[in-house]
Symmetry: C2
C-alpha cells in the first residue's frame, strides 16, 4: 500500500484483552482533513458510534483511534466516560481538539472499557507514527478475522495522482446497514466533507450494504473516510469534473474490501455471489438477493457443496417481493438448473455439483418480470461458524 | 391419543424416497366435515398448497393425503398433474369428489413427484383405516424430525365432551407465516367452516407464528383443521356460548405442537423461550422477540451455554423497533444480567452460566417503554443444524 499524504499511522498493544498482539490503531491526520461517515442503524449503538455521529457534522478530523477486543457497547455511563477520556488523550497526543478525534471499538459487547488503558499509549504512538504501516494497521483492528483486509486505488485528478487506501475488519455481525463492523478509508484528495459524505454513502450502498454473513447487525458498524487534501484539485461540489474519477476509485476500494469481508465471514470456506436480475426494480432485486444470501438453508447447502436449488426457490418465495414461480430461472455458476418453474430439462447433477465445488460460487436468479437487478456477496454457513460463535468469549 | 368421531387413519410406505419407513398418511373424514386452513405466505408455494388454497373456500372435506420425502414444490406442470392425480385417486378411494380432498407434501423441493405412486396405496389404506393410529400418523409425516409430535385436549361443550387431536412435523424451514411445515388438527366438534377458520387463524398467530428455527419460510407450510361434527352443539357463529371452550382447547393443542416443533428444530439441543415486555405495542414486542429468536449469534451463544447478553442487545438494536438502550433490562432465566443500559451491578457470571446450562433457556427482555409483550419459541443453533442441512439430499 502506498503512503497517503497527510496520514501517519502507528499501532500498539494496550493489553485491553488480547495477549501477544496489537489492539490499538492511532492515525494522525494533517490539519484541514475532511471526514465523512456511515454508521450502524442499530437502535442500541455503541458509545463510540454515538461519539462519531455527534462529531461528523463539523466535517473535520485530526485523529482516529480504533481498538479491538472490546466494543464499548452497552456499557452505560462508563462507556461514555471511556469515550470522552480516550478522545481527550488522543487530542493531547495529536495536538488538536477532542471534537476532531474519531473513535471506533470492536469486540465483546457489554464489558466496560477502561479508557485509561490508552494513557501513554497514544502519546507513544504519535512519537513513532509513520506514513507506512498499512498492513500493521489492518492487523490491529482484527477480531475473529483470519486475514487483514486492505485495498488501494489511484485516481488521476486534474493531472495529479491521488491515492485512496482502505482497511476493514469483519467478520461476524455482518449485515446490511452497515455491512462491516469497521472500515476506514484515507485519501490525499481534496474533497469537501459534504461531497465526501454523498460519495461515501452511495458507495456503501453498492458495497458494504451488499454484504451479509449472518444477517446480524452490529452495534458498532462504522465506515469513515478521511480526505487530507494534500493532492489534486479542490472538489467542493457534486458537479466538479474530477469527482467521477475519485468516486470510481473510492467505489472500487469499498467493493474490494466488502468482498474480502464476505470471503472471511466467520467459518467461511466459500465466497458466494448472488446475482438477481429480471426483478420489478433494483430495490426489489436487492431484497430478493439478500433473502437468498441470508438464508441458513441456502448457506448450509453451499457449505455441503449441494446444488440444492429448491432452497433458492424457498428464499425467493419468502422475500415477499413480486415473484412468479413459473417464470423463475436459477443457475449455479454457468449451469442452469431450473427454468420456467421446474427443473431444467437439461439438468445435469454432475455439472451442477461441479459448480458447487468451486471456492467461489455464483447463484444467479432471473425473476423474469422486469429490468431490476442486484448483486450481493455472502459466504457459506459451516460448523466453523457455530464453533467460533459458540465459544467466542472464552 | 383418543379417537375422534368421524376420523379414520391409515399409513403406508409408498416408496417415494425413503426406505424402510412409512411416507403416506391417509385420513378419511365423515360426510359433513368442515375444514379450515392457514397456508404459507411464500410467493413460490408448492403445488399442494395451491390446491388447498383453491379448495378451502368451499369449507368441506372428506379426505386428507399427506406424503413425506418429496414436497412437490417448484415442479411446474408435472407438480400440478401429480396433485390432480393424487386427489383423483384419493377421491376414488374415499368415495367423494376430488374437491373434498386436501393434500400436503413435505420433503425435497424441485424433484418431480410421481402421483402414480399413490395408485393402489390409497385404496389399501381405506380398507384398513381405523380410528386409532395417531402415533403412526405423526410418524408418517416426519422428515428430519427426531420424534413424532402429537397433542390432544378435551373440551366440554353443551354438556358433551369433544376431542381436539393434533399432529405436526417440523423441523427446518420454520419461520413465522407459517411456522411449521405441516400440522393437522382433527375434532369431533361441530364448528362451521367460517368460524373454524377464524379460530384457527387466531390460534396460529399465537402458536406456530411465534416459532422460528432458522427464519426460513417453507414453500409448503400448511395447517389444516377438520371438524367432523359428531359431538357437541352446532357452533355456527362467533358468539356461540360454547366457542370459548373450544377455542381454548384448540389453542392449547396448537401451542403444544408449536413448542414441540421448536424443541425439535434441526440440530437443536435446547428449547429457547424469548419473552419481551415493556414494548410500545404487542406487535413491536413480537418483532423484537423474533429478531432475538432469529439471530444466529444469539442462537450459537445458547448452543455454547454462553450468557452472552451483548448479542441480545445487538438483536434488540437491529429489530428496527422503538428501543432505548439506557432503559433495557435482560435476564437469562431468573438471573438479571443487564439493567439500565449496562451490566447489572449484581452480575454473577456463574449464576448466569448456570441458567444457560438448563435444557430449556428463557431469555427475558424488558424494553421499559410501554405495556406491549410477546412470547416466541426457538432453539439453539448447533453444528448439528449445519450437518443436517449441509448433507440433506444425499
Amino acid at each position: 500500500m502506498p503512503p497517503v499524504g497527510g496520514v501517519r499511522l502507528a499501532t500498539a498493544a494496550a493489553g485491553i484483552r488480547y495477549r501477544g498482539r496489537t489492539d490499538v490503531l492511532f492515525a494522525l491526520l494533517d490539519e484541514g482533513t475532511q471526514v465523512a461517515g456511515v454508521l450502524t442503524r442499530s437502535r442500541c449503538p455503541s458509545a463510540p458510534v454515538d461519539w462519531c455521529r455527534a462529531k461528523l457534522p463539523a466535517g473535520t478530523a485530526r485523529a482516529l483511534v480504533v481498538n479491538s477486543a472490546n466494543a464499548n457497547a452497552f456499557t452505560g455511563l462508563t462507556g461514555r466516560d471511556a469515550v470522552a477520556l480516550t478522545a481527550a488523550l488522543a487530542a493531547e497526543a495529536a495536538g488538536c481538539s477532542p471534537d476532531e478525534v474519531f473513535l471506533a471499538s470492536t469486540g465483546v459487547i457489554g464489558e466496560p472499557l477502561d479508557g485509561g488503558k490508552f494513557r501513554g499509549v497514544l502519546e507513544a504512538c504519535r512519537a513513532r507514527a509513520e506514513p507506512t504501516g498499512w498492513l500493521e494497521a489492518a492487523r490491529a483492528i482484527m477480531t475473529t478475522d483470519t486475514f487483514p483486509k486492505l485495498a488501494t486505488r489511484t485516481a488521476r485528478l486534474g493531472g495529479r495522482d491521488v491515492v485512496v487506501n482502505g482497511i476493514a475488519k469483519g467478520s461476524g455481525m455482518i449485515a446490511p446497514d452497515m455491512a462491516t463492523m469497521l472500515s476506514f478509508v484515507f485519501t490525499d484528495a481534496a474533497v469537501a466533507a459534504p461531497v465526501l459524505q454523498d460519495v461515501l454513502a452511495a458507495g456503501a450502498d453498492r458495497s458494504f450494504n451488499c454484504v451479509t454473513v449472518d444477517g446480524d447487525t452490529s452495534t458498532s458498524d462504522t465506515l469513515l473516510a478521511f480526505a487530507t487534501g494534500r493532492a489534486g484539485p479542490r472538489i467542493e461540489s457534486a458537479d466538479h469534473p474530477d469527482l467521477p474519477a475519485f468516486r470510481a476509485a473510492l467505489d472500487e476500494v469499498l467493493v474490494e474490501l466488502a468482498i474480502l469481508v464476505a470471503r472471511d465471514g466467520e467459518g467461511a470456506r466459500k465466497l458466494v455471489t448472488v446475482l438477481v436480475e429480471g426483478a420489478e426494480s433494483d430495490r426489489s432485486a436487492h431484497r430478493v438477493a439478500m433473502s437468498i444470501a441470508n438464508s441458513p438453508l441456502v448457506k448450509t447447502a453451499v457449505a455441503g457443496e449441494d446444488a440444492n436449488w429448491g432452497r433458492v426457490v424457498m428464499a425467493v418465495g419468502k422475500a415477499g417481493e413480486p415473484a412468479d414461480r413459473d417464470r423463475l430461472a436459477i443457475s449455479f455458476g454457468d449451469v442452469r438448473v431450473a427454468v420456467a418453474g421446474a427443473r431444467d430439462p437439461a439438468y445435469d447433477e454432475e455439472k451442477a455439483s461441479a459448480a458447487m465445488r468451486e471456492e467461489a460460487v455464483t447463484i444467479r436468479v432471473d425473476l423474469g418480470l422486469g429490468q431490476g437487478q442486484a448483486r450481493v456477496w455472502t459466504c457459506d454457513l459451516t460448523k466453523g461458524y457455530v464453533e467460533i460463535n459458540g465459544d467466542y468469549r472464552s
